[in-house]
């Protein structure tokens, strides 16, 4: 598991079929599923067939003519990649004639190929070189002096890989990978015959083309034509370790290819259950932050944030933090301190932080950054379906006939799953997009949304009610499913509510901005189009009615019986890699691991016996509550692991005022992030490459994170938390994170069957995993809902209090972009900046014209919370009246503008709706000027330069 280097490539994709076919290949009998290619069958029989244009991540193409075979009773020499097996078939892969044909093909390839194998970056990992050896090529009769492509110019424009057309054999694997795997269609074969060449876009450079730098083409290339620059500079790796990406909630599996303790490249793992060998620009290439010079590798302390940092030993730093926490508690009570964990932490780390807060600090003041993203998912799905998690696995999309994407931008936020989704859409599934913006999915190559409900921000609940109204009043709902599987009294309540004419699309048209005809069409398609699945993101949750909308989505799925089987379901696309896991691990202040409320005495007793302490039965403070309490003086100390609330949380000035008010802020992170600039203790953390643990992705899939290099600061994060707990008087006694997972399994029924050996054995596990489901659970709520009967909940539309006015006539909504990740601490320290070097304000041309705003110029964006200045991007992606920005760069101050409005149930901030005014300006905002001065001062106090500061 940890030393797999080059996985077997069987040449063509596997086929699944109910019937099996028996054939004979080189005298070896083999049974394979019907539809399998002869090449794949031969590989299964242990007979390798020479090939160049075939690889098992792509459909066969049959162009290289190297994989020819002889089949008894058939004429000629069919290509084994495109020939399906047949019962009783007798295949020969080797004969004198086949050898002659293959050598002839290879001679042609090699006659137009630079003979620089010894100095070539692919040396030792080149399929062309391998095939030359396999076919026994000894001469090239044509010589090397004829017309060739050897002088073709290299394209070095992409920061991560180069394109050397001189080495290209025009096998089209890169073009097909871009089409079939990634779905971007950025590459093509330009020209005909001998002039044929791989071309990005319209003969553009890779960087200027539509290429999204996912790496699929590089992965598919059999030669050094498309090659990672890291391999060119460092050489081929020596070993690989399977681990899990630390970026988005797709949780891709990668092989970290290593030379000693140096990471050469990350290669998507084709056995990865979440990604099946695909990747995006972040996971594939943007790992350089782990060794960036900005990393802080020595613990530091200071008495006041105006003091210089002092580098100290681990013992002194942890002792300083512990003594301050104890002193604060002695003076202000047990509840005056708390902790925040992060979705960027492993399960084991998150579990330890909440354990430290509950057991060592003696209160429940622990929260996680899921507070500001998917907390409404947990609340809404628990209330309706009975479990705080998505219902499907990613593979489920292959069985979907209708896909509804609400408030999510998968091509940017969850690119690897988006590729999968686009493939299904190209196969014919229908698409409904509900989003204020024209996201890429609405119209991309060979994909077009059947319905784009371009609603006004803040009207999600009105729209979901209107869809439900159509389905109910037109009699399109699943009567049998509802009767058998759902609470009848709740359904009757909800039905009476939703059938009211005020919920009709016609009545709500003026509020949502979506024509009734479109809503009716989309509702009919969702209800009657076959297997219908809903995928949603932060455009659902980050609203004052985020939880209500999640309930509305669950209501729709139950109403139409689209739950409990493959192809359907409710699928939250989690923002960060371990949002699901952080929530599972009990990092919310009201519940213990496994979503069990702290007031439940049976559960509490179970934990008390294991942990040897008495636990507080009352809920603790959420992040916004902690900040409010800091400003009133009742909350004075905080331990923050892996989270940057000063950049990511709303109303920045409120957050920083609260941090400044605290007596002891302890930050454990890789970098001096925005929050750390307000800290008194800095504990240097470890990147995902430097530690062991697990992440749980959006499909409840638990995957191993494996240490491939030593921690830069000497300690894995779980060790630091354990040290702090011990200094607080609560020794934890773990020697390895596997022991933490064993404890989680003992205490959490849905994790009872999870252990590191079991994860090594199965590759990954979707919880629940226990005696009833020893290999985990792909689809939830199959026979019955986790809560028994599904519960319809009444979803009254309550418009947000954030309204436009003459002073603030536009609505600002925020989001993310493909190349950057969350607060950007990682991706801003990579070459990904070449695609996105600053946050911009997207504005519709008519709004821009009205204000004299021109593309690329500075604009002031003002809300009732604050003001910032960004560069404008004038685009028709926006609807008039709505502007948009990302929050990847702290100096942009996107969250200076966002307000303290939040979801009624969970306090998830309403990032998606802020009333603003926009106008041309010539200088930064006052906040930005203050921010720059403060940042500069904090870097001075650090005592060493930082390459990436405020951007």
């Amino acid at each position: 598991m940890t030393t797999v280097f080059r996985p077997i490539d069987r040449g063509t994709p596997p086929k699944s079929s109910g019937s099996s076919v028996r054939l004979e290949i080189d005298g070896i009998a083999v049974n394979v599923p019907e539809g399998t290619s002869v090449m794949h069958a031969a590989s299964l029989a242990g007979v390798p067939v020479p090939r160049l244009c075939a690889t098992d991540s792509l459909e066969p193409f049959g162009s290289c003519r190297l994989c020819l075979v002889e089949i008894e009773g058939r004429r000629g020499y069919p290509a084994s990649c495109t020939t399906p097996v047949a019962a009783g078939m007798v295949v020969r892969t080797q004969s004198a004639k086949l050898g002659e044909l293959r050598r002839g093909v290879m001679e042609l390839y090699i006659s137009d190929h630079p003979l620089d194998c010894l100095t070539c970056s692919a040396n030792g990992n080149c399929e062309l070189q391998d095939m030359a050896g396999v076919v026994g090529l000894r001469e090239v009769r044509y010589g090397y002096q004829g017309a060739n492509h050897l002088a073709a110019r290299k394209d070095e424009s992409n920061p991560y890989f180069s394109f050397d057309p001189a080495k290209c054999i025009v096998c089209s694997r890169c073009v097909r990978a871009c089409e079939e795997v990634q779905g971007t269609f950025a590459l093509t074969i330009d020209g005909r015959g001998f002039a044929s060449m791989v071309s990005a876009g319209q003969s553009e450079s890779f960087l200027a083309s539509e290429c999204v730098s996912c790496g699929a083409c590089v992965q598919a290339c059999p030669t050094a034509t498309l090659m990672e620059k890291a391999v060119i500079s460092k050489g081929q790796a020596e070993r690989s370790v399977v681990t899990t990406c630390a970026y988005c909630g797709v949780g891709c599996s990668f092989r970290a290819e290593m030379k000693g303790s140096e990471l050469v490249r990350m290669v998507p793992d084709k056995d990865g259950h979440a990604n099946h060998g695909h990747s995006c620009v972040k996971g594939r290439f943007a790992f350089g932050y782990a060794t960036h010079p900005d990393r802080i590798t020595t613990p530091m302390i200071r008495d006041r944030i105006s003091d210089p940092w002092r580098q100290v030993s681990w013992e002194e730093a942890v002792g300083f933090a512990a003594s301050r926490f104890k002193a604060i508690q002695a003076a202000h009570g047990r509840g005056s301190v708390g902790g925040i964990t992060s979705s960027r932490c492993t399960n084991e780390e998150t579990y330890l932080v909440q354990k430290l807060v509950r057991a060592a600090l003696g209160n429940n003041n622990v929260d996680t950054c899921a507070r500001v993203c998917h907390s409404p998912t947990g609340f809404g799905l628990k209330a309706t379906l009975g479990e705080s998690a998505g219902t499907q696995d990613f593979d489920s999309v292959d069985d979907s006939d209708v896909i509804m994407v609400i408030g999510a931008n998968p091509t940017d936020g969850h690119p690897v799953f988006a590729s999968r989704m686009k493939r299904r859409l190209r196969e014919g599934a229908r698409l409904i997009v509900v989003d204020p913006r024209t996201i890429d999915l609405v119209r991309s190559p060979h994909v077009r949304a059947d319905f784009h409900l371009k609603l006004r921000p803040g009207t999600n609940v009105a729209l979901v009610n209107a869809i439900a109204h159509v389905i109910l009043t037109e009699g399109l709902y699943g009567r049998d499913f509802v009767a058998e599987r759902c609470e009848q009294r709740d359904f009757a309540n909800w039905k009476a509510f939703i059938e009211q004419s005020r919920h009709s699309p016609e009545e709500l048209e003026t509020q949502t901005g979506v024509s009734a005809a479109l809503v009716r069409g989309a509702a009919r398609l969702y209800a009657t189009g076959g297997n219908a699945a809903i995928y949603y993101g932060l455009g659902v949750t980050e609203h004052s009615q985020g939880s209500t909308m999640v309930m509305g989505i669950a209501n729709l799925a139950m109403l139409t019986g689209n739950i409990g089987r493959a192809g359907v379901g409710v699928n939250p696309l989690r923002g960060q890699n371990n949002v699901q896991g952080a929530c599972d691990m009990g990092s919310f202040p009201h519940e213990l691991p496994g979503y069990r409320h702290v007031s439940d005495s049976t559960t509490r007793t179970h934990f008390e016996q294991q942990w040897g302490v008495r636990l507080d039965p009352e809920p603790g403070l959420r992040i916004p509550n902690m900040l409010d309490a800091a400003l009133d003086g009742s909350f004075r100390g905080i331990y923050i692991e892996g989270e940057d609330i000063a950049q990511s949380d709303p109303d920045t000035q409120h957050v920083t005022a609260a941090l400044e008010a605290m007596e002891c802020v302890v930050v454990q992170d890789l970098f001096l992030n925005e929050t750390a600039k307000y800290a008194h203790v800095f504990l240097p953390g470890s990147s995902f490459l430097e530690k062991n643990g697990t992440f749980t992705n959006a499909e409840r899939r638990i995957s191993r994170v494996r240490k491939v290099m030593p921690p830069a600061a000497g300690k894995e994060d779980w060790e630091i938390t354990a040290m702090l707990a011990e200094a607080l008087g609560y020794p934890m006694g773990y020697t390895h994170p596997s022991e933490i997972m064993d404890e989680i399994a003992r205490l959490t029924p849905t994790f009872a069957g999870v252990s590191y050996p079991r994860l090594d054995e199965l590759g990954s596990i979707q919880w629940p995993c226990n005696a009833e489901a020893p290999e985990g659970t792909r689809t939830m709520h199959v026979e019955e809902f986790v809560r028994g009967k599904g519960r319809f909940l009444v979803t009254e539309y309550v418009p947000t209090e954030e309204r436009t006015s003459r002073k603030y006539p536009l609505i600002l909504t925020t989001g993310r972009i493909l190349s950057q990740y969350n607060v950007g601490a990682q991706t801003r320290r990579t070459a990904n900046n070449v695609w996105h070097e600053e946050d911009r304000l997207e504005i519709h041309p008519s709004d821009a014209l009205l204000r004299g705003v021109r593309d690329g110029e500075w604009v002031g964006v003002r809300s009732r919370a604050g003001e910032t200045v960004l560069r404008a991007l004038v685009t028709e992606r926006m609807q008039p009246g709505v502007v948009y920005t990302t929050f990847h760069f702290p100096g942009s101050g996107a969250n200076v503008i966002t307000t303290d409005n939040s979801d009624w149930a969970t306090n998830c901030p309403e990032y998606k709706v802020t009333a603003v005014q926009v106008e041309p300006v010539t200088q930064p905002s006052q906040w930005q000027a203050r921010f720059r001065r403060f940042t500069q001062r904090q870097v001075e106090l650090l005592g060493r330069p930082q390459e990436v500061t405020n951007d």
Partner: protein, 72 residues
Amino acid sequence: MEAERLVRMANDIARFYQAEPDRDEAIAGVEGHLRRFWEPRMRRQIEAHLAAGGEGMDELTRLAVGRLGVAG
């Protein structure tokens, strides 16, 4: 914490349960939510605010907060 902010948060909760047709269930819903998700100091503060006249509190919020002390 600022009473105004607590009142806003409590009213937001009440506006969800307002749609519940059974009034007693609506009150119990708000009360239960406050009990399950609000840290005790926040509950005490909003109770104190109600005792001081409850400025800004919606009717349903008042009824639910009024029951917090009764049930412990």
